[in-house]
Amino acid sequence: MAASMASQAASRGLRTTTSKHILLNKVKCTWLSPRRWLNLQEYQSKKLMQESGVAVQRFYVADTASEALEAAKKLNAKEIVLKAQILAGGRGKGVFDSGLKGGVHLTKDPAVVGELANQMLGFNLTTKQTPKDGVKVKTVMVAEALDITRETYFAILMDRACNGPVMVGSPQGGMDIEEVADKTPELIFKEVIDIFEGVRDDQALRMAANLEFKGPLQRQAADQIKRLYDLFMKVDATQVEVNPLGETPQGQVVCFDAKISFDDNAEFRQKSVFAMDDMSESDPTEMEAAKWDLKYIGLDGNIACFVNGAGLAMATCDIIDLHGGKPANFLDLGGGVQERQVYEAFKLLTADPKVEAILVNIFGGIVNCAIIANGITKACRELELKVPLVVRLEGTNVDEAKRILRESGLPITAAENLEDAAKKAVAAIRK
């Protein structure tokens, strides 16, 4: 879907990366993107690239119209592109509630930039990928628009099969790479990188040649490739995708647009990168859950799941699905569950109006089931639980836990095993 708009817009340096996942079946590479990846605004990604010496268009960032105007003048460029900074894609065709059409504007006259920015900043931009009311634009990017004579595709990613970083490139840039891989697999090139060694000169040059950079551009491209790899390692990325990596009529190799995915696990040593995370577009329930060390993911069903261990949580969702129900969420309490966590988890679940029943599935390995049972009864009483509750407990001290639930006098349905629990939860909703 992106291919059509890509060629036209990208040549002007517009952001074209789609949020769609790119699958390179043919080259046996797997793109991995955790669901809650760290999302960076375009200007933030470009700043990171700039810091690693990657060639990007000259740009400024502005929070006010006057700053934008000032930036446009300072750029002193033949042509200027003004871009509203939001995380959602489809900006080019978006509409502002100020009436302005298009989140991306090209102009040769720096004087109009202030006026345009005035109609962007503080207004909501609605695109195909935003919520209905759009997303408020707080920042704009003012960049030099460059012409592109040729577009290539280049990416570095962590690959399971190769047990390390892999570079993937294609001379067919600027368009949907999935399509390229599908139709002309011979135009996809792959280079496995030794994680201890990094990118070797011969590898970078070979890739540059494969991308069909000629003459002096080849060395320039190879240099860019090495710098992109440095960036990839420096920021703990799981993927750096440059599309297009292009050349200008002036004979420069430039990264026109890039999408960087980060390794969540590296947050502790990438404080400055993660500090850029704009949480305003994140789910508040997930954030609240994280406070209590709970892993929560909202889904669109109506049976809330409450499970310890990611695997068991997944299996629980499966069995609910199998018996005709739909999970409302995925909630993993982790291995060492505390009574307080149980209470907070219940609070989260009951606050969700979609939830029509709650299914608890806990296997107490190192956890005492009685603690869970106490947490459940306490939460039920204090939160005045309105929806049916089905509980399956197994493991350490389970008999005591069952006794606590039985004698609590609360309307709790006990289940013998996972299947029984799922059936009872689904039945509770049908009633």
Partner: protein, 629 residues
């Protein structure tokens, strides 16, 4: 210990061992995880191992020391080393490292461990190790022929031989799932939670677990499903294999290939969880970092079908996994492949005291009791009152003292009176014996506590102790119905001093303002002051004899406090008497005067006063003239 099955040829990666754990396997545990280590030792004990599996622990944040553990009924000491090098050198028999290092330090400690050729297996428990680091760990492990279990795992278990950390849960679970002796079924799963579930299923449907490994939920586990399935294939004791896969990745296809190529010949029961993911329109990342399908072939549904096609035993749903396991097992028993062994009851491991108590199995009289303060809950509680409420109600110092000393919430006037008593007793100059002692002590360079206690130690019958004595004397006289005159006469006749009467300088004409303030307050606020009135009657008589025989501050507080205890309505007469009896009143003086003593201490330090030496001319030396023999 048998030599590991590996020899690295130049350039070629070393081969990994088929058998990771034996009944003699010894491990080093990285990290101060005493609970997990005790769990391992208890497991070893129920498995009838000859020796504990944990040879040593490594913990860089303390010095070398020994940690106490239980081995059955006995207590044993396990060495803890600051340096991994030392631990390895001192325990050359160790070939397993169990790393409880945090996600920040796991990389360094794992890489360090791999520099020691004695280590063949490393279990990494930490979840959330950056991918770039895991990649390096795996690459190094490949080169060295080390088997990595994890990261992000609970570990694994080999009944009768070895248990990694918390795998299998607490001892109750181990016993319930018969994990103390080997069965014929080996499994590999991703998560620890599911391995509990599998232990349960396998123990119910077969002769038990031979070995089970949870490879961990990371995108890039250090060892894969296939690594372990192949080990199981090559292990004679394993008769059937269970693999619990997951949405995401393509590892499961290697099993398919292995079956097709005849590399895997033992029956394999498989299930991939995450089948529900297909019903969500958006892509869902399930808890495990690796659990995300990025293409159609990575979905659980597709993988289950592929496994089924390859000839694995795949149930229709996770529900039916146990049925399939049972039918495969039953067939193996029927055709004679498996001959279930005779059950031998495991040795009993004594239950931990704290656990038994949590389960309500035992009770014991406490050797310590308290009825005034509880710090265990969400909030600090003084005699039943949460600290927030104490502040909300503005109970003040007097109120807190009422709660902690008398277990009562005293009326406001009483609280204020206590505070006033503390204020007037706070200090009485540097010359009194207590302050003097404090000052001398402070000037000798001693610390605050020494100086304060040095002053407090002078408090007794002669200094400050008159409160109690006065309260006792006056109330005894009053209660026995003696008239004030009779009381004074009796004391005179017995040759006793009336406590709380008399002042060095103050007199009826030069009243003590402290007493004056307190007297006005009591008269205005106390519902009754019979004891004070009685004492004032006594004072009338004594001052008529000598003007300085007034009711002094000690005496006043003593009697007024008796009035307070008897009439504020919070105490029975017996309780009121008991408080006087056990020295509550003296406490007021001690507490009040401590303020003064501390003041004197700080004052002396501030003034930089040097060591005090009493001048000779102020000492009269009256030694015997001459000691002649």
């Amino acid at each position: 210990m048998s030599p590991p099955a590996k020899k690295s040829k130049a350039g070629l990666p070393a081969a990994r061992a088929t058998t990771l754990f034996r009944k003699q396997t010894k491990a080093i545990v990285w990290g101060m995880q005493t609970r997990a280590v005790q769990g391992m030792l208890d497991f070893d004990y129920v498995c009838s191992r000859d020796e504990p599996s944990v040879a040593a622990m490594v913990y860089p944040f303390t010095g070398d020391h020994k940690q106490k553990f239980y081995w059955g009924h006995k207590e044993i000491l396990t060495p803890v080393y600051k340096s991994m090098d030392d631990a390895m050198k001192k325990h050359p028999e160790v070939d397993v490292l169990i790393s409880f290092a945090s996600l920040r330090s796991a990389f360094d400690s794992t890489m360090e461990a791999m520099q020691h050729p004695q280590i063949h297996t490393i279990a990494i428990i930490a979840e959330g190790i950056p991918e770039a680091q895991t990649r390096k760990i795996i690459k190094m492990a490949d080169e060295k022929g080390v088997t990595i279990i994890g990261p992000a795992t609970v570990g694994g278990i080999k009944p009768g031989c070895f248990k990694i950390g918390n795998t299998g849960g607490m001892l109750d679970n181990i016993l319930a799932s018969k994990l103390y002796r080997p069965g014929s079924v080996a499994y590999v799963s991703r998560s620890g939670g599911m391995s509990n579930e599998l232990n349960n299923i396998v123990s119910r449907t077969t002769d038990g677990v031979y070995e089970g490994v949870a490879i961990g939920g990371d995108r890039y586990p250090g060892s894969t499903f296939m690594d372990h399935v192949l080990r199981y294939q090559d292990t004679p004791g394993v008769k059937m294999i269970i693999m619990l896969g997951e949405i995401g990745g393509s590892e499961e296809y290697k099993i398919c290939q292995g079956i097709r190529e005849g590399r895997i010949t033992k029956p394999v029961v498989c299930w991939c969880i995450g089948t529900c993911a297909t019903m969500f329109t958006s892509e869902v990342q399930f808890g495990h970092a690796g659990a995300c399908a990025n293409q159609a072939s990575e979905t659980a549904v597709a993988k289950n079908q592929a496994l089924r096609d390859a000839g694995a035993y795949v149930p229709k749903s996770f529900d039916e996994l146990d049925d399939v396991v049972k039918s495969v097992y039953d067939e193996l028993v029927a055709n004679g492949t498996i001959i279930p062994a005779q059950e031998v009851p495991p040795p009993t491991v004594p239950m931990d005291y704290s656990w038994a108590r949590e389960l309500g199995l035992i009770r014991k009289p406490a050797s310590f009791m308290t009825s005034i303060c509880d710090e265990r809950g969400q909030e600090l509680i003084y005699a039943g009152m949460p600290i927030t409420e104490i502040f909300k109600e503005e109970m003040g110092l007097g109120g807190v003292l009422g709660l902690l000393w008398f277990q009562r919430r005293l009326p406001r006037y009483a609280c204020k009176f206590i505070e006033m008593c503390l204020m007037v007793t706070a200090d009485h100059g540097p010359a009194v014996s207590g302050a003097h002692n404090t000052i001398v002590c402070a000037r000798a360079g001693k610390d605050l506590i020494s100086s304060l206690t040095s002053g407090l130690l002078t408090i007794g019958d002669r200094f400050g102790g008159a409160l109690d004595a006065a309260a006792k004397q006056f109330s005894k006289a009053f209660d026995s119905g003696m008239l004030p005159m009779e009381f004074v006469n009796k004391m005179k006749k017995d040759g006793k001093l009336i406590m709380g009467i008399g002042h060095r300088v103050k007199s009826i004409n030069n009243p003590d303002m402290r007493v004056q303030i307190l007297k006005d307050y009591v008269k205005q606020n106390f519902p009754s002051s019979v004891m004070l009135d009685y004492a004032l009657d006594v004072e009338k008589i004594t001052t008529s004899k000598k003007p300085n025989l007034i009711l002094n501050v000690d005496g006043f507080i003593g009697v007024a406090f008796v009035d307070l205890l008897r009439t504020c309505g919070g105490f029975t007469r017996d309780e009121a008497d008991e408080f006087v009896e056990i020295g509550a009143l003296n406490g007021i003086f001690v507490l009040g005067r401590s303020m003064g003593f501390i003041g004197h201490y700080l004052d002396q330090k501030r003034l930089k006063q040097g060591l005090y030496r009493h001048p000779w001319d102020d000492i009269s030396y009256v030694l015997p003239e001459h000691m002649s023999m």
